[in-house]
């Protein structure tokens, strides 16, 4: 029997055990439900963010300028004609209109239920200013349309020293979701690896296994098996999330950008998982009881958590943060930070490439180190084996 069939057998066992485990099925379904719910919530919020303003026939001329001024202050304003003021009043009262333009159209007067939000008020103020200006121009014998065109064409001219990176709001959200997914996957699947190692150690089955296959084959099979299941899980969740997002219209990015995000997500999940789970397997071998697993893997877990926390707290407000840019190339933080940045866009190709390269280069060193710890510690049951002893023996 060659090493690969041994690894395949070990991996096969891990996969079949995991796919049948209730905890796995429940957590996957829960994550998919969470994503669908998130998409629906975003859609709901999206629908209420616009303002609907009604107008009486006398104010019809104001509807187009109102929309234009709304756009100028960054507010999406929908307009709707009502047959008469009384009908409009009723609609304001029942909430289907946020505001109603009343009067004869020579001045901006609105009726609201309680109050108007700031942006809506700003839009209406701009409109009022415009209207007054038009009236003044007409009074002075000018042509308001001509003046408005001239004004509209006047722009400040900006000279840039550097070209800014463009961040799209949706990609920001996507980046954060990518970060959360990677973080959760590393956390859950990495822990599973460590727990699996301890299970074999506690139940002593490891002694029978090691009489047949080499430690590194057992470790590799375990990491690959659990990794494969995690990959299926993250792909299913990612695809479901994107499908719901695109289908419901919450996400409007192009399909190719979405595919790119998923592919990077998978690449970084794989790199991160292999890197961390190898370390988790080595650290897990130091202890003999499931309750001690958490403490044993904590030192490695700190890096995952630190990367994630930095990413999620810095990136949304400052996607171009220099700190994150530097950290995301360092191997221990790259698996959590790089996919976030990649999903947000604007990562230079050399940075993306370098970070992958560094992690790939680090993995063999980690395998060597972990295999050493594992080999020396896995048969010593009882008290926690000190890391120094495991490395020295």
């Amino acid at each position: 029997m060659n090493p690969w069939s041994a690894i395949r057998l070990v991996a096969g066992r891990e996969i079949s055990i995991k796919l049948r485990s209730k905890a796995f099925i429940i957590s996957t379904v829960a994550m998919i439900v969470a994503f669908v719910a998130l998409a629906l919530v975003l859609k709901l919020i999206g629908n209420t963010s616009g303002t609907t303003v009604g107008y009486t026939p006398a104010n019809a001329a104001l509807s187009a300028p109102l929309q234009a001024s709304g756009k100028a202050v960054g507010k999406d304003i929908e307009v709707k004609e009502v047959p008469d003021e009384q009908a409009g009043r009723d609609q304001v009262a029942d909430g289907s209109l946020d505001a109603l333009l009343i009067g004869d159209g020579t001045a901006v007067r609105v009726l609201v239920k309680e109050d108007l939000d700031d942006q809506g008020r700003a839009a209406l103020n701009v409109l009022a200013g415009q209207l007054t200006l038009n009236q003044q121009i007409t009074g002075l014998g000018g042509d308001p349309a001509q003046v408005n065109t001239a004004v509209a064409n006047a722009h400040v001219e900006v000279q840039q020293l550097e070209k800014p990176k463009e961040y799209n709001g949706q990609q920001l959200v996507l980046g954060i979701i990518a970060g959360v997914l990677i973080y959760l996957s590393l956390l859950l699947n990495g822990q599973t690896v460590a727990q699996g190692v301890v299970e074999e150690k506690t139940s002593r089955v490891v002694e029978i296994l090691l009489a047949t296959i080499r430690p590194w084959q057992l470790m590799a099979g375990k990491v690959l098996g659990i990794g494969a299941v995690g990959l299926i899980q993250i792909a299913v969740i990612g695809a479901a999330g994107l499908a719901v997002g695109l289908g419901s219209g919450v996400l409007t990015i192009s399909a190719s950008a979405a595919a790119g995000t998923i592919i990077w997500l998978i690449v970084w999940y794989l790199l991160g998982f292999v890197m961390y789970s190898i370390v988790f397997a080595g650290l897990g071998a130091l202890v003999s009881r499931q309750e001690e697993v958490g403490g044993a893997v904590a030192p490695a877990l700190m890096f995952v958590i630190a990367g994630y926390v930095v990413g999620i707290s810095v990136l949304p407000s400052d996607p171009g943060s220099e700190l994150v840019e530097i950290l995301s190339v360092i191997p221990v933080f790259a698996p959590t930070l790089m996919p976030m940045r990649l999903a947000m866009g604007g990562v230079p190709v050399w940075e993306a490439g370098l970070s992958v390269l560094l992690v790939v280069a680090l993995i063999p060193a980690l395998i060597w180190l972990s295999a050493r710890i594992y080999r020396n510690a896995v048969l010593r049951s009882g008290a926690k084996v000190r890391l120094r002893d495991a490395l020295a023996a």
Partner: protein, 303 residues
């Protein structure tokens, strides 16, 4: 075939400052049952773990049929570790099948073998149960099945009899005899010395990481003094005191146990005893393995 040897050659192993094995050497012939006895911590488990490659020796070698044992040879060893171990949450049948396949069996052969051994060891009905749901005795049977399921050519069993009920002990003994009869060298350790004496062709006694005595039970007895038990109801307390070369080991009621040393003559003992009156029993006593073991171990301590 009978020339094939499992050789344990000069193994040494230390853990930090503790010496676990010191020049441990013995060999087991194909078709032979070899009993491995010794106090706790004498080095039995360490030796077996080294044979299985679970531990690496500092010095020395293990050979089968003249060639050093490799990972491939190890696939043909049936091993039962002292610390019993199976996946608690895996089903019995699945688990045995997995272990058989890890040892290089094809899926179909593994299935057949699992069916055969679970049947034979009386756990066939529990094949679809998780191991942790079985009683301790049944878990032991599954553990034995795990050592046998891949049809090994060599058996190395650490304390296979501990925790077994009498029926399971018989099943286990039969299986071991049968494996040996089929030409496998069988090594097992045990603290049940009467069982070892009954089953084994040869016995090795270890102490402090060294083999101190090794051979058939008769060979082991050869060095020890002859003992005689005499029951002479009318003999006075001191009837045997003046016999040359004779040491009185014990006197219980009318029975006297004597050890014959240099120049002692058992016929002289009998006539002396008869001179005191009737003799109801006059018997040579072979020391049991337990006594031999005790002797060997205490000699070592005295040294």
């Amino acid at each position: 075939m009978s020339q094939r040897l499992l050789e344990i050659d000069n193994l040494s192993k230390r853990f930090g400052t503790t010496v676990a094995l010191r020049n441990m050497s013995f060999d087991v012939r194909a078709g032979e049952l070899f009993g491995f006895v010794g106090s706790n911590g004498a080095g039995k488990t360490t030796t077996m773990r080294i044979v299985l490659g679970v531990l690496a020796a500092d010095e020395g070698a293990v050979r089968w049929d003249g060639r050093p044992i490799t990972l491939d040879t190890r696939r043909h060893i049936g091993y039962m570790p002292e610390e019993r171990g199976l996946y608690p949450k895996m089903k019995v049948g699945e688990q045995l099948g997995y272990l058989a396949r890890l040892h290089g069996m094809s899926a179909a052969a593994a299935r057949r073998s699992v069916a055969e051994w679970t049947e034979r060891l009386g756990v066939a009905a529990r094949r679809d149960d998780e191991v942790q749901k079985l009683s301790l005795g049944n878990q032991q049977r599954v553990q034995l099945a795990a050592a046998l399921v891949h049809d090994p050519e060599i058996l190395v069993l650490d304390e296979p009899f501990s925790g077994l009920d009498p029926v399971a002990v018989d099943v286990m003994s039969d299986v071991l005899r049968e494996k040996a009869a089929a030409g496998a060298p069988v090594v097992f350790s045990s603290h049940q010395l009467d069982l070892v004496e009954r089953l084994c062709d040869r016995v090795g006694i270890v102490r402090s990481g060294q083999m101190v005595a090794c051979g058939t039970a008769d060979e082991l007895r050869a060095g020890s003094a002859i003992r005689v038990v005499v029951e002479a109801p009318h003999a006075p307390e001191d009837w045997a005191n003046d016999l040359p070369g004779v040491k009185i080991l014990a006197r219980q009621g009318t029975r006297t146990e004597l050890e014959l040393g240099e120049g002692a003559d058992d016929q002289k003992i009998l006539t002396t005893a008869l001179a005191t009156g009737p003799v109801h029993e006059f018997a040579r006593r072979r020391p049991s393995l337990t006594e031999l073991f005790r002797n060997v171990v205490t000699q070592e301590v005295a040294r």
